[in-house]
């Protein structure tokens, strides 16, 4: 439910933050989910449009092994999650991409699967990377149980009582996904094949739908196994406890290169979010309804930050910052003069000096929350036609290219790439597992096989080449003489038209934290909590507090 009506669009340009502020790694690594996050976009659509959900197949035995189908049916199309439940020995449980077996495996089928489809999928989906799916499938995913919580919930329900609240809060999910693949991976349908469907136009909608249906499956499986164990004594999960469970996700370096490799997409995500903030700031006044809503959501944010656990030395102080800032925000909202002109902009400006990066980015999320009618349409701008930006302009002059580098890449040209600390790492793909990794240049072999992810250094090398060249030379001639710069020239031309395309930091510096890249992307997904397990490996929770397929229609979606 949105509490304010869209006003005539005021000039928002002067309220927009510059890319030089937004695109820094430390700030991106403090990102919070917003109402433009992809799972929120999905839930709004499922709640607000004519989509029906059911579970046409439940074929799971007493050991919890078998398969189930969860179906989402709209006016024109049906999507079905086909879930396979397995009996996994503990010694095989690993969240790494190198695992070979999981507690459960999934695919999102485009339509209603026939028994023949299910049989084909049963031969392939449990194998994950070693199997193949087809154009009829949209995603491939797998999940492992939280062993402790899963067992605790089954034991409690089987014995006829609810699980302990503390145990639920300590984990927050029954299963965590360790990969959700889409976009043509392992033979699945290509993004281009489905991007024109309105319900899938926003980014990662099939992936989010997959995870949301997996969440329903995890609870159904636990209740099923409790019923097997407890017989007539067994009870079902309390709706409030059920609601508090999300789906965990465990993610490593593999996700980090994505936002570097998709500059137009990153630009569109960032631009939409920043335009949303600018629209809120540009309002001349605040409605009482919006202010009340703001005061509600800060309380929810405080609860979320309380439940958020991490032992990681980087995240612990960030969480302390966030909790302190949220308390300050709650107090400030209670006393803020919302009757002054441009109260939202004044609030934002105050926050920029009073809050840490964690708090500032949390404030952004909170300020968008009461303004659905004003900002939700921006979700439609978050997809990208990447092919349209691929062809580079050879007629551009070297003088113009140099100008782009000197203005849009000034942050990169300021980095001294002759020092060891600024070239300390290198990104590579491991031969053994074909997964992206980060090496130490001084002590590890393989730097000659470096992946082109440090855009700052590539831009800097390109600049060294064009510095002394004649201004009038066309880029086409530059590329004939220097084919090694083709990648960086393409980036520079993309960035000229997409100011939020680049992460404006040195991605091979000794103090760079890959988890900052992960958090940025995961916040856009809608991850509510972020628990680093190392500087390159995190766990998160998705859909915590969200409705389930069987109750989404019963409530008003915000």
């Amino acid at each position: 439910m949105s509490l304010i009506q869209p006003t005539a669009a005021p000039e928002t340009a002067r309220y927009r933050r510059p890319a030089s502020e937004v695109m820094r790694l430390a700030r991106m690594g403090s990102g919070h989910p917003t109402r433009l996050s992809f799972l929120r976009v999905l839930l709004r659509r499922l709640a607000g449009e004519d989509w029906q959900m059911d579970r046409p197949v439940w074929s799971v035995d007493a050991r919890g092994v078998g398969h189930a189908v969860y179906r989402v049916t709209g006016a024109e199309r049906t999507y079905s999650l086909v879930a396979f439940a397995h009996d996994l020995p503990p010694e095989m449980r690993s969240d790494r991409v190198i695992a070979t077996a999981w507690d459960a495996t999934f695919t999102l089928f485009d339509g209603d699967p026939t028994p023949e489809d299910i049989a084909r999928l049963a031969d392939n989906v449990p194998l994950q990377e070693a199997g193949r799916i087809s154009v009829k499938e949209l995603t491939l995913a797998r999940a492992n149980r939280s062993v402790r919580l899963f067992a605790h919930v089954i034991d409690a329900l089987a014995a006829g009582h609810q699980p302990e609240a503390e145990e639920i809060a300590a984990v927050g999910y029954l299963m965590r996904t360790t990969a959700v693949y889409g976009s043509g991976k392992f033979g699945a349908a290509d993004r281009d094949d489905i991007a024109a469907r309105p319900e899938l136009a926003a980014p990662f909608q099939v992936e989010m739908l997959t995870v949301w249906l997996i969440r329903a499956f995890t609870v159904d499986l636990a209740e099923h196994m409790a019923a097997v164990k407890g017989g007539a004594r067994a009870v079902r999960l309390d709706p409030e406890i059920r609601r508090s469970l999300g789906v965990g996700n465990s993610t490593g370096l593999g996700m980090a290169p994505f936002i570097v490799r998709h500059p137009v997409l990153l630009n569109n995500w960032m631009t939409a979010r920043e335009e949303a903030l600018a629209r809120v700031r540009a309002q001349q006044s605040a409605s009482q309804a919006a202010v009340s809503h703001l005061q509600e959501v800060v309380v929810a944010a405080i609860d979320n930050a309380k439940a958020w656990r991490s032992e990681h030395p980087v995240q612990v102080p960030k969480l302390r910052d966030l909790r302190g800032d949220l308390d300050l925000l709650k107090q400030t909202f209670a006393t803020w003069d919302f009757r002054q002109p441009h109260p939202w902009d004044e609030l934002w400006t105050w926050g920029e000096s009073a809050l840490t990066l964690e708090g500032q980015e949390a404030l952004l999320s909170l300020m968008l929350e009461p303004h659905g009618a004003l900002v939700d349409d921006l979700a439609d701008r978050m997809c990208a036609d990447e092919a349209a930006s691929f062809r580079l302009s050879g007629a551009m002059t070297v003088g113009e290219l140099r100008g782009i580098l000197e203005t849009d890449y000034a942050w990169a040209l300021a980095i001294d790439f002759t020092t060891p600390e600024n070239t300390a790492r290198f990104w590579y793909v491991s031969e053994e597992k074909l997964e992206p990794r980060l090496g130490d240049r001084a002590t590890e072999d393989g730097a000659t096989l470096e992946q082109p992810l440090c855009i700052a250094r590539l831009a800097s090398e390109l600049y060294a080449t064009v510095r002394e060249m004649d201004d009038a030379t066309p880029v086409a001639s530059l590329l004939l003489a220097h084919p090694e710069h083709r990648y960086a020239v393409r980036r520079a031309q993309i960035t000229r038209a997409h100011p939020f395309a680049e992460v404006q930091d040195n991605l091979i510096a000794d103090d760079m934290l890959p988890i900052d890249l992960l958090r940025c992307k995961l916040a856009f997904f809608g991850a509510s909590q972020f628990d680093p397990r190392s500087d390159r490996w995190v766990r998160i929770n998705l859909f915590q507090g969200a409705p389930y397929p069987d109750d989404i229609k019963a409530e008003t979606s915000r």
């Binding site: 070979t100 062993v147 007629a395 393989g446 880029v475 090694e484 710069h485 083709r486």
Partner: protein
């Protein structure tokens, strides 16, 4: 169902194709595999992206782009840039040593010159000389037709392929250009291209052998494992919780 542990742990399933069974790759898989293979065979990253684009474009139009690219990379690997790239002069783009041009480099360079005087403008006639696996040039010629609003013709003593307004140009051009190499001249005239429809069904019959050949090139971009790299990859905490 009990999961069968397979001896595979890689973020990619293409090595699991076997025999001559056709492999229905997604376009994303074609682009990604071909880009990595081209890089592994020695192309710069930016040019390797062009190879991925070309192979995926062909696959989307029912042509086995991956097979042509694999064959071309076999031929081109190890050859110096100067031998593979055109020497751009008015009307004559032949390679400096008179060698066989790389169709990816030639195609990308033609697109780079789309708006330049020496490029494929309406009314031009450019001697290209010998071009390896010229079918790989086709995606770029379609790009030029789109960018410059021209109809492009490539001719040799044996073949003439027109990228034009007819309904059948794609089929004809494919037949004409599918050889190992051709000695070509390019002309362009004003006109509106008829875009062939891209296919969502996967009719492109790429063989397991082709995929194995491309994977062999792609693996050259990867770094062998060390204890240090394994140690840095995952969580420092257990997952059995």
């Amino acid at each position: 169902m009990t999961p069968v542990p397979h001896d595979q742990t890689r973020g990619d399933s293409t090595p699991f194709f076997r025999d001559a069974k056709p492999a229905p790759l997604s376009r994303n898989e074609v682009a990604s595999l071909c880009m990595k293979a081209a890089r592994g065979a020695g192309m710069s990253w930016g040019m390797a992206e062009e190879a991925g684009f070309a192979a995926a474009w062909l696959a989307a139009h029912g042509i086995d782009g991956p097979a042509h690219l694999a064959a071309h990379l076999e031929q081109a690997q190890g050859r110096a840039w100067a031998e593979l790239c055109p020497r751009v002069t008015p009307g004559d783009w032949r390679a400096a040593g008179g060698g066989t041009l790389c169709p990816i480099v030639l195609g990308a360079t033609l697109c780079d010159h789309a708006a330049l005087a020496q490029g494929p403008l309406a009314g031009c006639s450019i001697t290209l000389g010998m071009v390896d696996h010229p079918i790989l040039l086709l995606p770029f010629l379609a790009e030029i037709a789109r960018l410059n609003k021209v109809l492009v013709t490539v001719t040799s003593a044996q073949v003439t392929a027109c990228i034009d307004a007819s309904d059948t140009w794609m089929q004809t051009a494919t037949e004409m250009l599918s050889g190992q190499a051709a000695d070509l001249t390019l002309t362009a005239r004003e006109g509106a291209l008829k875009n062939p429809p891209a296919q969502t069904a996967r009719h492109t019959k790429t063989s397991a052998d082709t995929i194995a050949a491309l994977n062999a090139f792609a693996m050259r971009t990867t770094v062998p494992a060390s204890e240090q790299s394994r140690a840095g990859a995952g969580s420092t905490l257990g997952d059995n919780d």
